[in-house]
Amino acid sequence: MVTVSLDKVSVTYGTQWALRDVSATFPGGAVGLLGPNGAGKSTMIKALLGLVPPDRGEMKVLDLDVRTSPLLIRARIGYMPETDAHIPGMNAVTFVAYCGELSGLPRADAMQRAHEVLYYVGLGEARYRNVETYSTGMKQRIKLAQALVHDPDLLFLDEPTNGMDPKGREEMLELIRDIAVNKGLNLILSSHLLPDVEYACEHVIVMDKGAVATQGPIAGLKGQGGRVFELRVKGDTDRFIEVLRAAGLECHSTDEDVMRVFVPPSPDGFGATSPSSQILFQLAAQHGMQVRHLRPSLPTLEDVFARAVGEP
């Protein structure tokens, strides 16, 4: 099942490209939309909602054309925006019920579901408080509640853990996973935080500079063959990274002097049978570097992301 599809979609803000010929398909379930700030994630979501008109390209959400059926689409989706957003002058339950009514629920049903959803997101005890008095974490939760109240078929969550403390973030991610796994809702989680996407989603679409860098099931992307090593050397680390890259190995530094090196299954110039760790020793020896630490590691989404966007 495909919930969202984009075909060569381009969006510009003035002379700036926000999305450039983006083609992607979002399967059902929980899909992460991953990328650094400014990659075009929020623009993509706003374009899918019909809030930003594309310069060219076709978009479909739940098999409906965004250009011709924006209202039908918006009736079936829930949107949790990135920035703080609420209807001023309302308490939480009135606000959520109001959003339910705007989404097409009858008044009584909207109120009943508002109570239920507020309990679900953990704001049951605070539901009669004015939203403007809420903390950042509570505001994130109520944004999720207003997106859920009309029981959408697809949720767009734009940076849902922004500004939350670790415990709140954990609870929010738990909620998101519960929504996708136990409640059967499809969701698209836009985030620049790799652990959030890795925790809550099965598929990921990685964006960079307004284009799709890579996409697919997270497990598949992480296990694309080859091996990942944690490597620390004594000497000029930056120069050695250049050496590794020149040898066709993907490499990015993490914190301090530790780097993660991805060794493809058959790296050119070293023969298919060479043990992958040997390559690193050989290169270090050739360039007078001392290997201080070399440990095989499991591929993470961070590696996928770094490879996709070419992060140093």
Partner: protein
């Protein structure tokens, strides 16, 4: 089982058809205002002139010696003129925050991510203001006409002044439409309702002052078009058939009204968007 498992279930109930969200917005806006005692006080105050006029009509109908108080077409024209001050205050009280508050709270992206159009959103906001404004202009004026019939015990006055019903309706609705559209446009320009209030008051008073100054300097009333209030006087005199030479041709006065409404729509079209693009 985590507690949140008990709180969410799929919804299989009825869903309303599209196109009714404007009323949801308007109803919420009306209810919010009616919860405020200060605003209820303002509404009561706005009906005080109605009570005075009602007593006037009653006395004139009941006591022949007070026939000099009998209403004429000019009475209704004066009544609507008196209500202008309440149009001003109600417009500021209700209208200033209608869009400005939503912009401050980033609510536009919430509204416009729901199945409603920008036109529905603006309509909902406008209906909130328009209903209150009609409640202090057209409604009391028509009720006065009704009271005149009741107290006089016949319809001779209305029959003799049949134009009054369309005149009251036209003038009230024009005043209300211009006040509501102008205020909504101003409200969409800022995130502060106080600033919007100041802008609106500034436009009303500043334009009138400029007109008076230009008239004083040039000795000509041709500049009346710069003042919406004075332009409405021209229209009011014409529709209530008040004799006298208008400060400007009546079609030109209507044109000023059309231009004001068109300018407001132009501003709203540009400002009411879920995504503000700064290039």
């Amino acid at each position: 089982m985590p507690i949140h498992d008990q709180g969410y279930r799929r919804y299989a109930g009825r869903r309303e058809p599209h196109g009714r969200s404007w009323w949801v917005i308007a109803r919420a806006g009306i209810q919010e205002r009616l919860r405020e005692r200060r605003f209820l006080g303002l509404l009561l105050l706005a009906w005080a002139p109605f009570l005075v006029r009602a007593v006037q009509i009653y006395v004139a109908s009941s006591y022949p010696q007070a026939s000099f108080l009998a209403p004429s077409a000019a009475t209704f024209r004066e009544f609507l003129d008196q209500q202008s001050i309440f149009i001003f205050f109600v417009t500021i009280y209700v209208g200033a925050g209608l869009i400005a508050n939503d912009r401050r709270a980033n609510a536009l992206q919430l509204y416009l991510s729901k199945p409603l159009t920008r036109v529905e959103y603006i309509t909902g906001k406008m209906v909130t203001l328009v209903l209150f404004l009609i409640g202090v202009t057209w409604l009391p004026a028509i009720l006065l006409l009704l009271l005149q019939i009741i107290f006089a015990g016949d319809v001779s006055f209305v029959r003799a002044n049949l134009f009054l019903i369309p005149a009251i309706t036209l003038l009230s609705f024009l005043q209300v439409a211009v006040a509501a559209m102008t205020m909504l446009a101003l409200s969409s320009l800022s995130k502060s309702r106080r600033f919007v209030s100041l802008m609106y008051a500034g436009i009303i008073f500043f334009s009138a002052a400029i007109y008076q100054a230009l008239r004083g300097i040039t000795g000509s009333s041709v500049w009346v078009f710069v003042s919406p209030e004075d332009t409405f006087d021209v229209i009011a005199d014409a529709v209530f058939r008040i004799p006298g030479r208008p400060a400007m041709p009546v079609p030109a006065a209507f044109l000023v009204v059309v231009i004001l409404i068109a300018a407001s729509i132009w501003i709203l079209e540009r400002r009411v968007r879920a995504v503000e693009v700064v290039t």
